[in-house]
């Protein structure tokens, strides 16, 4: 992996929010991760694990508390104003609910072309032709360019969202739960389209998702988050029973109702609920709910270490495999 240049990289990225009573809510804690061209990396986890905050922070919709974000090797963390605006062309986002992400009074043509007009890449005269080109790219009829968002289905709207994100030819697209509101058949057709476009254009995709089964099918790598920490970073095909190393990931996988599960066994679950991310105690964030928790887990926070090629895990009880490619 070391011979490839990451298109997007975060180093020790931390985002804290102030909470009541002078406390601190740490939504993202020391996140270091690399994203490569043509690769989909899923950020998965349960609600409140910090995956959306991470997405918003790399887009600089939030200012990080500490740490850096590198886009094509350039530190964009501190960029402000016009410089930040220009840099944003390279990283685009598709939102969960396109019905709310679009201006309801704009026609599809204007929605798709707005980013291009903002950056002066096309003139208003070219709008019609450009919109049609992108509609074709996302497999929608060209006649849709005259429509308003409300006269389209959820799946069609999400395709427009993808078209709009593609217009600026970004290096990175962030899909924030972009398909979770859709029916499974629509979801599948949209993600197949995304995969196709990714192959053609070599885009890096950050796939924020809570559905492990979906990630198992559509992501090259998955970063599992718990209480603001990446607890495991593993290849997508490892998201099966027996494929994960971290106790949290393992239990999560076993608690999913999957068509391939063993229906004769009682479904497993993790007792209790995710604790509040405010003022976390030292030690492993999962310690309180972990069935194999030891003394050391409550004292010292485990770091990500390589357990197999392309597979990292932050757990004291999982043995490290020495590896040349283990970066810092």
């Amino acid at each position: 992996m070391s011979d490839r240049q990451p298109v997007l990289e975060t180093k020790n990225l931390t985002k804290c929010f102030p909470a009541d009573g002078g406390k601190t809510l740490t939504a993202c804690d020391n996140i270091s991760i690399q994203f490569f061209r043509g690769e989909t990396v899923a950020i998965v986890g349960e609600s409140g694990c910090g995956k959306s905050t991470f997405a918003r922070t790399i887009l600089k919709l939030h200012d990080p508390t500490s740490g850096e974000i590198y886009l094509n090797g350039k530190d964009i963390t501190k960029l402000k104003g016009e410089a930040s605006r220009l840099e944003r062309q390279n990283i685009q986002m598709v939102f969960q609910d396109p019905a709310r992400a679009f201006n309801p009074k704009m026609r599809i043509r204007d929605i798709i072309c707005e980013p291009l007009l903002n950056f002066g890449r096309i003139s208003a005269k070219e709008k019609d032709a450009v919109a049609k080109e992108y509609l074709k790219m996302v497999e929608l009829p060209e006649s849709f360019s005259d429509r308003y968002p409300h006269s389209m289905s959820g799946g069609q709207r999400q395709r427009v969202g993808i078209a709009r994100a593609l217009t600026l030819n970004p290096d990175v697209i962030v899909l924030d739960e972009a398909t979770s509101a859709l029916d499974v058949s629509v979801q599948k057709s949209i993600l197949t389209l995304v995969v196709k476009l990714q192959k053609e254009k070599g885009i890096a995709i950050v796939f924020i998702c809570h559905d492990f089964s979906l990630v198992a099918q559509f992501a090259h790598r998955a970063a599992v988050m718990y209480l603001g920490n990446i607890v495991e970073l593993l290849p997508g095909e490892n998201l099966v029973v027996g494929g994960a190393a971290h106790p949290y990931t393992k239990s999560l996988i076993e608690s999913i109702f999957d068509l391939n599960m063993d229906f004769t066994q009682e479904i497993k679950t993790i007792p209790g609920e995710i604790p509040s991310p405010i003022d976390l105690p030292p030690g492993c964030p999962f310690a309180d709910r972990c069935s194999v928790c030891q003394d050391i887990c409550r004292k010292e926070k485990p770091k990500l270490k390589t357990v197999a090629p392309g597979h990292q895990c932050a757990c004291h009880l999982v043995k490290e495999v020495s590896s040349m490619q283990n970066a810092s």
Partner: protein, 260 residues
């Protein structure tokens, strides 16, 4: 115990469900699965006499223990709901009054259905909440809805629905707003309840894996029609209908085909 006979449901002139047939035996768990707009929620709303707006059953009959419920008066429905049948909603948080403590509305709910003094009703509520494995039920009783997590609110909703040990439990996407671990906890509890009290459960869900895990009978709906029904093995391993096959192949699975 519950039977739908050729039921057609329409809102105004819009026919939503056509010729729907279903038989639910005592103690049986039936799941209705389908994509959005398939009419699955409309079916269970009809069973509870809760069709919104101008919705009505325009043909066919719904029988509860052999008796038609369609011509029930408001009072008769009130007797049935809560005692004989109860509903678990997708978002119990939206069902709970936000400006009243859980305890106050739970006690009120019990007293509407049963002549019980306040203290007895309170004790019954606490007992139900602890049956649902809610830690510290007294604290829950003293909380407002916003102070509870989604999973806790859902448990309160299930506890309330279970209070009078209804023969039939109708659940509309009871876990789809929840995280997977919480979902597994709730499903386990619903199945424990089913084993212990032999209630019938009708569960509407879009999660085929969950339906397959829970149910004795799965009904697949599309555009208001039943396209296929049968037990888990029939639906998962030997689907006959093309739509069922397509639906199954679109469901994401771990260890399934990889697209990247």
């Amino acid at each position: 115990m519950l039977e739908f006979k050729d039921v057609t449901i329409q809102y105004g002139q819009n026919v939503i469900v056509r010729k729907f047939n279903m038989k639910v035996e005592s103690g049986e768990i039936v799941s209705i699965v389908g994509e959005s707009g398939s009419g699955k929620t409309t079916v269970i709303r009809a069973a509870l006499g809760l069709l919104p707006g101008d919705g009505r059953v325009s043909a066919g009959d719904i029988l509860l223990n052999g008796q038609s419920v369609l011509s029930n008066s408001r009072e008769e429905w009130l007797k049935l709901r809560g005692d004989k049948m109860a509903m678990i909603f997708q978002d119990s948080g939206a069902m709970i009054n936000p400006i009243k403590k859980i305890g106050d509305q739970y006690v009120e709910y019990i007293q509407v259905h049963d002549k019980m003094d306040k203290q007895a009703a309170y004790n019954r509520a606490v007992e139900m909440l602890s049956n649902m494995r809610l830690p510290d039920p007294d604290r829950v009783m003293n909380s407002y809805a916003f102070e509870l997590s989604g999973g806790m609110k859902q448990r309160v909703g299930i506890a309330m629905a279970m209070t009078f040990n209804p023969e039939l439990l109708l659940a509309d996407e009871p876990t789809s707003a929840l995280d997977v671990t919480t979902q597994a906890q709730i499903v386990r509890q619903m199945m424990e309840i089913n084993k212990k009290y032999h209630q019938s459960i009708i569960c509407v869900t879009h999660n085929l894996g969950l339906a397959a895990y829970m149910s004795d009978q799965i009904i697949v709906m599309r555009n208001g029609f039943i396209v296929e029904s049968g037990d888990r093995d029939a639906i998962l391993n030997h689907p006959q209908n093309l739509y069922t096959k397509n639906l199954l192949s679109a469901v994401p699975t771990m260890g399934g085909e990889r697209y990247v």
